[in-house]
């Protein structure tokens, strides 16, 4: 499988300056991170606040440039100015606050914004918009105002908005942080569909463990470094280590872990309620 994202020894410093522009302090947000993601993968990047996961995500979209190291998206170096637009089209980004990333006043106009910027001819824009809205199951809302939608629906419109740019990879930076539980489910469901049906690479940045159990691979970040990596089952087997990184494991995993400690014979890394019930009965 081809590599869509290749990060080599990425290092990024936030430089704080005082009013005269003198350097006051340097915070290393991402520290010597290397990873590769193949086309079609569903990758989750976990970490608590300030672990550098969002900073890492912004590198994939050429919003931030590496201080040291290189980031290749679809084989193109993000730090080269000529590549910016190709990189941004190949790896589109969905942000946290749905209100602050919807530009159009009608759902379909917002979804058309990306293709308009790319200079796609008018009839093709309509095709893309229709396809993107259908993919996230929002087609029936196409002529509504975004202000009338729920948080989960707005976030699905945002996903359709990047989908219409026909990216190979979608980076989602905590897309569910501002949503209620049902909105979360809607969004995660939509993401999984895209990954499975359209074979789009998904990079999900989150601090919610429940959302990562369907991922092919999880990277756990702490203080700018990759602290753990593996499949969800491998990661969630190490409950103690996750706790030390200030992350909460999913409820079912936690329960299984406590039961096992108390002497109930259970395998490591149980992820869902159903699995737990299956093993217990």
């Amino acid at each position: 499988m081809s590599k869509i994202v290749e990060i080599k020894k990425l290092l990024f410093d936030y430089i704080r300056r005082d009013e005269e522009g003198n350097v006051e302090g340097i915070t290393t947000a991402v520290d010597n991170v290397s990873l590769t993601i193949s086309q079609g993968d569903f990758v989750a990047i976990l970490g608590h606040n300030g672990s550098g996961k969002s900073t890492l995500a912004k590198h994939l979209n050429a919003i931030l440039y590496p201080t040291e190291g290189t980031v290749l998206v679809d084989g193109k170096d993000t730090s080269e100015e000529d590549n910016i637009w190709e990189v941004r089209q190949a790896a589109s980004m969905v942000f946290q606050n749905p209100d602050n990333q919807i530009i159009g006043q009608i759902v379909e106009e917002d979804v058309g914004f990306g293709p308009e910027n790319l200079g796609v001819p008018t009839p093709m824009i309509w095709e893309r918009v229709e396809k993107a809205l259908k993919a996230v199951n929002m087609y029936q809302f196409r002529s509504k105002s975004p202000n009338r939608l729920s948080g989960g629906q707005k976030q699905r419109v945002s996903i359709a908005g990047v989908l219409a740019m026909q990216p190979k990879c979608i980076v989602l930076d905590e897309p569910t942080a501002m949503l209620d539980p049902s909105g979360r489910e809607e969004v995660i469901e939509a993401i999984r569909e895209l990954n499975k049906k359209e074979n789009i690479t998904i990079i999900l940045i989150t601090h919610n463990m429940e959302e990562t159990i369907y991922a092919d691979k999880i990277y756990v970040m702490d203080e700018g470094k990759i602290a753990m990596e593996g499949t969800p089952r491998e990661i969630f087997s190490e409950v103690e280590k996750l706790k030390s990184l200030r992350l909460n494991v999913p409820q079912a995993t936690m329960l299984a872990y406590e039961l096992k400690k108390a002497g109930v014979p259970l395998p490591d890394g149980i992820l869902t309620k159903e699995e737990l019930i299956c093993h217990l009965s």
Binding site: N100, Q101, G104, F113, T122
Partner: protein, 268 residues
């Protein structure tokens, strides 16, 4: 408090006027405004009123929506009417103490009030029948020639679009901040101008901070979606003139000619 604020007052219905190109409607409105300023006798006003009523009928927007738009200028109309009524010099028909009404006063007062009413109703036909988006698109394309003198027409239109999109969001946020500050004891009902102005500070500061934060986020989201100004951009809903726009132009030209011939006392 902010619920009744209608900026995008679009009335969603299908009518021949709704289907017109935004640019035709804009030019038509300008022609109408010019005609209202041009006519100076009652035949002219009758023509203008008849035209307005016909346009309203064609647009199928209920008249009560038009009248609603007048509310904001009722005070202005009353003032303009009264000033003209009492201050215009001429042949006195009625007087009491220092007030006197003249024949010329009545004449100008009626014309002034009519003129204001026609202006507001005439331009509200445009805003009621055009979505804000197509209106900004129309303005962008009409003012495109200004690019030559380095006026960033596309950018201004984009700013208008974004402003329209964020008005309801910021209104909601303002409501929230107000409630939060009221819970902490800020008195927004305070009497007196200075006190009232002071009570606005705890409202405006957080609102501005949040607006800047939103602007920052939005700029990032727009860049992430490859926005790079108007160059090389295509349109999802391009504006196109149809045969009905030509008809509308002809009708407006005919109307203007009528106003010039009968409304300016050329034949008298």
């Amino acid at each position: 408090m902010f619920k009744d604020m209608t900026l995008g007052q679009y009335y969603p219905i299908d009518s021949p006027i709704h289907r017109l190109d935004a640019r035709s409607k804009f030019v038509g409105t300008v022609i109408y405004i010019v005609s209202v300023f041009m006519v100076n006798n009652y035949i002219g006003y009758l023509i203008a009123i008849a035209a307005l009523l016909t346009f309203i009928a064609i647009s199928r927007v209920p008249i009560k929506f038009m009248v609603k738009g007048m509310k904001s200028i009722v005070v202005l109309m009353i003032f303009a009417g009264l000033f003209n009524l009492f201050l215009v010099q001429g042949e006195v028909v009625w007087s009491w103490w220092i007030l006197s009404i003249t024949k010329e006063g009545i004449d100008t007062a009626i014309k002034m009030v009519l003129r204001l009413a026609l202006l507001i109703m005439g331009s509200s036909i445009m805003t009621l029948t055009t979505t804000p988006t197509s209106l900004t698109d129309g303005l962008e394309s009409l003012f495109k020639p200004l690019n030559v003198i380095k006026i960033p027409v596309h950018e201004i239109a984009m700013m208008m679009t974004i402003a329209l999109r964020f008005i309801p969001i910021l209104t909601e946020e303002m409501d929230k901040i107000m409630k939060a500050q009221m819970a902490r004891g800020v008195d927004f009902e305070a009497k007196g101008l200075i006190k009232k102005a002071k009570s606005m500070i705890p409202l405006l500061v957080p609102l501005f901070i949040s607006a800047f934060r939103r602007a920052n986020d939005l700029a990032m989201a727009m860049e992430a979606r490859c926005y790079r100004g108007g160059k090389g951009r295509t349109k999802m809903k391009p504006l196109k003139y149809h045969w009905n726009d030509a008809v509308a132009f002809l009708i407006m030209c005919g109307y203007l000619a009528l106003c010039i011939i009968f409304g300016r006392g050329v034949l008298e």
